[in-house]
Symmetry: C2
Subunit: 242 residues, 2 copies
Amino acid sequence: MLANQGSTAKIVRPTTLRESVLERILELIIIGSLKPGQHLVENELADNLGVSRQPVREALQLLSGEGWVDLRPGHGAYVHSPTVEEADQLLAVRTLLEAESARLAARNPDKTDISDLRDICNRGLAACVADDVDAAVAANSELHTAVVNMSGNRVLADLTSQVARRVRWYHTPVARHRGRASWEEHAALIDAIEAGDEDVAADIMRRHTEHTRQSYLESRAQHPVEEPPAPIRRRRPRTVSG
Amino acid sequence: MLANQGSTAKIVRPTTLRESVLERILELIIIGSLKPGQHLVENELADNLGVSRQPVREALQLLSGEGWVDLRPGHGAYVHSPTVEEADQLLAVRTLLEAESARLAARNPDKTDISDLRDICNRGLAACVADDVDAAVAANSELHTAVVNMSGNRVLADLTSQVARRVRWYHTPVARHRGRASWEEHAALIDAIEAGDEDVAADIMRRHTEHTRQSYLESRAQHPVEEPPAPIRRRRPRTVSG
DNA sequence: AGAATGTATGCTGTAGGCAGTCGACGACAA
DNA sequence: TTGTCGTCGACTGCCTACAGCATACATTCT
């Protein structure tokens, strides 16, 4: 249910095998079936997906371009696993990009867009009080996506999406769901955008994403992810699908 | 810290054919042998480079991930050709990123780095008064790269590099060589970084890159590049009757 | 016993080829 | 002329197969 649409708008018709394989692998990565640092053996993926190695290889190359997997010549593809430092830097850049998005959105606000934002915000708040974490996370993602789209700068939107993806939020689900405070910030942001006050909007967004960054870092510090730095290949049990 | 180039930092040993093919194609794109919008036929490249189609295909997939070529399923690869609008948005984002780089660089300036910056700046100014455009362009690129590296944020550096590449400056060589004024701005920037005045540094960089952006747009407006927009479907022109 | 070396095995990188598909071009009908 | 259909050529997408390499294991030497 994630709005992972916005990035690669190039693909219109996923008719080719390569594209469908890409989506399948991406799905496995997102839901965690393929874990960070895991070695992606082409043959296994090909067998499990019922295709040859070629489409798998090409899908992996494309995924590497989007930062989902790391390619090591002669060794194969590994699910990208951001270090704490990289995640920190990614979130810093995200703060920068999203603050600019908010500024541009406030520069020429659109009534329809504002209305959409309020709808999303209400849904998110409702999900929050209902303790529906999944819905709250979805609404949060939706709202941020809507704001960057309002900026009118497609490059900015694509880059923001790319950066956000590379963080791999599943390390810390709590970081994306900081409770009511987050939605109050969202509401204030929408007000600022509607009022056309770009400085205020940018500042609110900056502090908002900065809060998220802090939450992420704290959460990751508390739950020290077993860093899989293992660059070498490791034998694993047979099956992959799950 | 590895002083690795931001672009293709992943490749450590270009031992594989795929990597060398990638570099060859990239070279051809950069020097303009392969023009923007041009259709890259796999067989031709394979024959010219003396390899099979497979390494060529994979190299093209990797190049698409870095924004050098566009992949259209069922049609092949085309050299990326940014529209005026896209270039404008790219340069806007670049302004944002580089201003932040300057801010971070000024936050904790390093004596050695400052010295390097001044050397580059002197070389650039010398090249400028000697009317050596190539050298001036090179020094300019070198200086901006040095500043983003001083930010200490590798993600920021990589993204900046990626965004800058996608502009395809060769549309307008003049845009990268605005004369002495540009180098005076550079000098002021270095002063601000050395003084640790991050607000001033960010502001100088922002206005500097904004000037570049304006120059680019004006230059491109004066020299209307024959847009090779025809992505597909060159249908016969319809004669409007009535 | 520890270290060095030979061997085995799995995986990647590359080649070649076949089929499907898209677009161009020409013929034909309105 | 203009629109439509069928054919052709070219190119991509995909598969199979082989070669090369890297890692892990077994063996031998010191």
